[in-house]
């Protein structure tokens, strides 16, 4: 049990640092910004209490905000994403059922399940964040293009990360 706390807390700090030091510097055409740190919210265990889910998402967004001068924007997007997570979990119900002790990753629930689950949540996060950043609907379709391409970039990076760091049992 302690192990799970330690794993998630270290993942929290590691992902914030990775985001601000590595992924924020990836300049893909000045158009795509991957926000890989949301992986933390995706990978929280199923039995996480709902209040902890929201609070940790809040702190995660706040941490990234501190570094990127976007005060509140990542926070708002993360909290909203965490709020949607229980609903999305119900929506993409797996045949395996959510047993105790398994985590919402590729390892336990398979590639197909994970991609359906993460595509919805990452898209929700990016949609809210990019529109908050621009803060108007002038460039509506331009921003929508950025949201979609960035979602794809984030997903690719997240999935590569999953295969790199989680070995098959």
């Amino acid at each position: 049990m302690n192990n799970i706390y330690f794993l998630n807390i270290s993942r929290f700090f590691l992902l914030i640092l990775l985001q601000v030091l590595v992924f924020d510097n990836m300049q893909l055409n000045g158009y795509i910004n991957p926000y890989v740190y949301v992986l933390f919210i995706l990978l929280l265990p199923f039995e996480t209490p709902q209040w902890l889910l929201l609070i940790s998402a809040f702190l995660l967004g706040f941490g990234v905000d501190l570094f990127s001068d976007t005060m509140g924007m990542h926070t708002a997007a993360c909290v909203f994403m965490a709020f949607c997570r229980p609903g999305v979990l119900r929506l993409v119900f797996s045949s395996k059922d959510y047993e105790v002790g398994i985590t919402p990753g590729i390892n336990d629930l398979g590639f197909n399940w994970f991609i359906r689950y993460s595509i919805i949540l990452v898209f929700i996060h990016h949609l809210l964040f990019f529109y908050l950043e621009v803060f108007n609907f002038h460039e509506f379709f331009y921003t929508l293009g950025r949201v979609i391409l960035s979602t794809i970039a984030t997903l690719v990076l997240i999935i590569i990360g999953q295969y790199l760091f989680y070995k098959k049992k």
Partner: protein, 275 residues
């Protein structure tokens, strides 16, 4: 009352969510106006420290390139000093010059974090209030204009880059002195937009765009870029002009913060006009 509590507890997930979102949006609202960089001041010390140590590691990789840039600039400055001019007059009277007074001071600083890919981009510099940097000061590089200081902590400062939706720089064409303003519409970090140039002005691609000196912060004549393309739609009173920035925002490393010594005086005069 008990029912109220029961209701709150039953739907606590939603209420907690709403509470946290409200906090987040209050934070956004406090920071949307680029003047209100209050949160930044406390946060800067922490994040600035992290960026600084990260930067120290990568500094070595760019030493060669930076040396070259600094050497080039030195050479340029050397060419400007008195000694490099030949004197043609022999009789000379030296007087203590009271005619000229220095208006702008330059403080050199190093960029420790930078972004170009977002809609609103910021830089962080390794100098702050203790080194004499204040809000709204102009930031320039050896190639041209960079941005405006929008938040200062003890030893770090945050700069709103030219690549920001709120940045608007008063500019003019060097050839004709026609004044307009430069903004950034997103997309490529190399291209900006020049607006408000009236349709009777003649121009060519490649013409130089410089700062106008109408703002209190930027000295006159600092390079902004060159005209990449221009268009005048039928019936429009103003040109649509795209410019190439002279500053390469992707390679910023050392910059200068400009201090206007007469700003207080100019501000006072401006305020008295409104009364």
């Amino acid at each position: 009352m008990r029912q109220l509590f029961a209701f709150l507890i039953k739907y606590y997930f939603f209420f907690l969510f709403a509470l946290l979102e409200i906090i987040a949006f209050v934070m956004i609202a406090n920071n949307t106006y680029y003047q209100g960089a209050r949160m930044l001041n406390t946060a800067n010390q922490l994040t600035g420290g992290v960026y600084q140590s990260y930067n120290d590691i990568f500094d070595y990789l760019y030493l060669k390139q930076n040396n070259r840039i600094l050497a080039e600039e030195n050479a340029n400055l050397r060419a400007m000093i008195e000694k490099s001019y030949v004197k043609f007059t022999t009789s000379e009277i030296t007087i203590h010059d009271t005619l000229y007074k220095q208006q702008y001071k330059y403080i050199d600083a190093k960029v420790i974090s930078n972004s170009i890919g977002k809609r609103n981009n910021y830089l962080m510099l390794n100098k702050g209030y203790n080194q004499g940097i204040r809000n709204n000061m102009a930031v320039v590089s050896s190639n041209g204009i960079v941005g405006i200081v929008n938040g200062v902590s003890g030893n770090f400062s945050s700069v709103m880059s030219l690549l920001h939706s709120e940045t608007k720089i008063s500019a003019k064409l060097k050839k004709t002195n026609a004044a307009g303003s430069v903004t950034w519409e997103g997309g490529s970090y190399k291209k900006g937009t020049l607006t408000d140039i009236p349709s009777h002005i003649r121009m060519m691609t490649g013409d130089t765009v410089i700062t106008s000196g109408f703002s209190l912060d930027f000295p006159e004549g600092i390079m902004i870029g060159t005209i990449a393309e221009y268009r005048l739609n039928l019936g429009d009173n103003f040109y649509k002009i795209k410019i190439n920035y002279s500053t390469d925002f992707n390679k910023l490393d050392y910059v200068y913060v400009v201090k206007n010594m007469f700003k207080d005086e100019q501000l006072k005069l401006k305020e008295s006009q409104h009364e």
